[in-house]
């Protein structure tokens, strides 16, 4: 009867050993207790005795490292046939677990709730590295009372804000803090628990803040675009959507984006994904906050088609009827605050997109033409880019094209 010889555990903690040399050959008779092979463990090389008597029918492993428990030989009766049972002792390498699913799904949801920042003036003052020094107690009181720490000055060591400073701020009106608890006796602060949308917005904004960004600005002469709009309106079909300057801008951006794919991209971990088609998201003010529905294939759609898509999305957005698919797949975002009279602003990135365009109102402004000052309708555009993904030159080239297209739409053909 054949017996499998397995590599024994010869010491505490021993997991494997190296067979150096067999002292018996296949076919030789072996007595129990006779040295059978030489084994190198971490500590020492030693002879290992046979546990069975018989004929060494097969040496399964000639030399090399073997895990404890693996069959290395078979001893049995003369003439027996032998099949060595594989590595029944060897540990199976665990299958690599599937890579954790990327956070794309979350990002898609979050994209629905992206928000831009307001004009710079209102930003809270920050210390050198952006952190505010405040004691844990001070932070808690500030949190509970809705007081912005950033606006306070601290009287603790090294300017640390301590509880007293926050208490003081709570009872005196402060000009620096943008969101201060109401002054006066008996005035209770209104506490609003953040909705999940707002929380998502807050979280995504914080994420966006991690990106190193740069901004480029141009002013475009809108004369031709406005003229184009008039032409489109004149040719408009009955009952169809009136195209706006924004729709034209969306189309022109679409064209520019496919010509400058570096800006039609996502930056995800260590990857840059450039897309062949421009899916432009438009920031829309809905009831629960800003959302960004997406119009796919802007480079191929006509302005009329874009207008129709835009109107449909806005209506559904305002009515809370947007689908997830309406919010997914955006490669670029345009945010337009012109209708609110904002002339210029800088938008916050909408990750994982690498760029976002902030558009202000079209105003009659003096410009210089052929050495003379004339009045033209002009619009200011600010492009924010993720510098990890995009450099200044390509960004500038893109923006220059957008301006060029706005000033001479035919160039976009």
């Amino acid at each position: 009867m054949a017996n499998e010889v397995k590599l024994p555990r010869l010491g505490q903690g021993m997991e494997a050993g190296t067979i150096v040399k067999w002292l018996k050959s296949e076919g030789e008779t072996v007595e129990k207790g006779e040295p059978l092979y030489e084994l190198d463990t971490e500590k020492v090389t030693q002879e290992v005795e046979a546990d069975f008597s018989g004929v060494l029918l097969k040496i399964a492993i000639e030399e090399g490292e073997v895990p404890v428990g693996q069959t290395i030989a078979v001893i049995g009766d003369q003439g027996e046939t032998v099949e060595v049972g594989g590595d029944d002792g060897a540990p199976q390498s665990a299958e690599k677990p599937a890579r954790a699913p990327k956070r794309d799904a979350e990002r898609e949801l979050g994209r629905a709730a992206s928000i831009e920042e307001q004009v710079t003036e209102v930003k809270a003052p920050k210390r050198e590295d952006g952190r505010v020094k405040a004691s844990p107690l001070a932070r808690r009181i500030a949190r509970e009372r809705g007081i912005e720490l950033g606006g306070l000055s601290g009287t603790g060591p090294e300017g640390r804000i301590v509880a007293e400073d926050v208490e003081r701020a709570a009872t005196t009106p402060s000009t620096a803090a943008p969101a201060v608890a109401p002054a006066g006796a008996g005035a209770e602060a209104e506490v609003e628990q953040l909705s999940s949308t707002r929380r998502t917005i807050a979280r995504r904004l914080t994420e966006a803040w991690q990106a190193p960004v740069f901004q480029l600005g141009v002013t475009a002469d809108m004369t031709q675009t406005l003229a184009l709009r008039e032409q489109l309106l004149a040719r408009q079909a009955e009952g169809s959507v009136r195209p706006t300057v924004s729709d034209i801008l969306t189309k022109l951006c679409g064209v520019a984006l496919v010509r400058h794919r570096e800006l039609n991209a996502h930056f995800v971990e260590d990857e840059l994904r450039r897309f062949p088609s421009a899916a432009v998201g438009l920031a829309v003010a809905a009831e629960r906050g800003l959302i960004v529905p997406v119009i796919p294939s802007c480079e191929t759609k006509s302005v009329t088609e874009i207008a129709a898509a835009r109107a449909d999305l806005v209506e559904r957005a305002r009515g809370g009827k947007l689908q997830r698919s309406d919010l997914e797949g955006g490669t670029f975002t345009i945010s337009n605050l012109g209708m609110f009279g904002v002339e210029r602003f800088v938008a916050v990135l909408n990750p994982p997109q690498v760029a976002i365009l902030a558009v202000g109102s079209t105003e009659e402004r003096p410009v210089v033409e052929d050495g003379a000052v004339v009045v033209r309708p002009t619009m200011e555009l600010m492009l924010t880019c993720d510098h990890r993904a995009v450099d200044g030159a390509p960004a500038a080239a893109f923006l220059r094209d957008v301006k060029a297209f706005l000033e001479q739409p035919a160039l976009a053909l």
Binding site: L137, R139, E158, V162, A163
Partner: protein
């Protein structure tokens, strides 16, 4: 109410326990005729005889170990180690044996042993007779560690230590032996694991042990004049630690100073600070301050010893740091 010194309070607890129970006996070096190097067991030989007030040769390992063996047989021995510096000689028996018998046996064995010892600097004894080593023992699962600072506390806690079924390392402090206090006529056992608010206050909690409790009291009086109201919490038992009392106090005052005579770095106070920041993080208006000996073996020359070892002034400075302001 009778007045007892800390020393007399220890003797009183030991004597009452030995009168009550034949199972209680004491072993130590020079504890019989001499009455102990600190005079704690004076007179006890006459009352209890040489079998139960047992002088031992200089064999810390064996006498602590013998205590372990007798305790395992159900007796309640109290072994005195003359200086806490010499606990080092019995570490193996305390840490590897006494602390672990219960666990290793799966609960079959109890070791109701008390190891009494004392230490403290301030009298130029040199580095090997001046240490405070409680940090080593609070770190060993299976041991209890007690460090009382007043006559009432030491009497009530020694009684509880003797009657606790676990090995207790019981620290007394050299400079406290002489302090006197009115104590209750009858011995009132104090539970192990219960802190005491030694002084109430509003602005900062000082968690202090041993001699530093009294230094903290002195510092608190000075701080009062600065308009700072100091609360003093004496844990009394270091393991198990009464975290609740300490945390409640810090939640009230919002500031914390931890003070002990032992070396500050990696000391018992570090654990208290960690617990406080864990459990009262949002209540802290200032970083937790620690007061302890500086990181050096305690030198002989009085001026150097004075510098290394903490005093009331160090506690006061720490208190001031917690309420410090730069501007306004």
């Amino acid at each position: 109410m009778p007045e007892l010194s800390y020393r007399e309070a220890v003797r009183d607890a030991l004597s009452r326990a030995m009168r009550r129970d034949d199972d209680v006996f004491i072993i130590g070096e020079d504890i019989a005729e001499m009455g102990g190097s600190m005079g704690v067991t004076m007179g006890m030989l006459d009352e209890f005889g040489p079998e139960r007030v047992r002088n031992a040769p200089i064999s810390e390992m064996a006498i602590v170990g013998a205590g372990i063996g007798a305790a395992m047989q159900g007796m309640r021995p109290v072994v005195e180690v003359m200086y806490e510096d010499f606990l080092t000689l019995a570490m193996e028996q305390i840490v590897n044996q006494a602390a672990k018998h219960r666990s290793m046996s799966g609960g079959q064995v109890k070791v109701p042993l008390t190891v009494r010892t004392q230490g403290g600097a301030g009298w130029s004894p040199g580095a090997q007779h001046a240490q405070q080593v409680e940090a080593w023992f609070v770190h060993v699962p299976g041991l209890k560690v007690v460090f009382p600072s007043t006559p009432t506390d030491v009497r009530g806690l020694l009684w509880s230590a003797i009657y606790d079924d676990n090995p207790v390392v019981f620290f007394e402090h050299r400079t406290l032996y002489g302090i006197k206090e009115d104590v209750p006529e009858e011995l009132e056992p104090i539970p192990i694991g219960q802190a005491r608010v030694h002084r109430e206050g509003e602005d900062v909690t000082v968690v202090a042990t041993g001699r530093l409790v009294h230094e903290a009291v002195a510092a608190a009086k000075d701080a009062e004049e600065d308009g700072v109201s100091v609360e003093i919490v004496d844990p009394r038992t270091l393991q198990p630690l009464d975290e609740d009392t300490i945390v409640e106090s810090v939640k009230k005052t919002n500031r914390c100073v931890v003070a002990h005579e032992a070396v500050a770095r990696m000391g018992f106070g570090a654990e208290v600070a960690a617990v406080v920041q864990e459990k009262a993080f949002d209540y802290l208006d200032a970083p937790i301050e620690r007061v302890g000996a500086k990181f050096a073996p305690i030198p002989f020359a009085p001026v150097m010893e004075e510098y290394v070892v903490p005093h009331a002034g160090d506690v006061l400075e720490a208190i001031r740091r917690t309420v410090a302001r730069d501007g306004a």
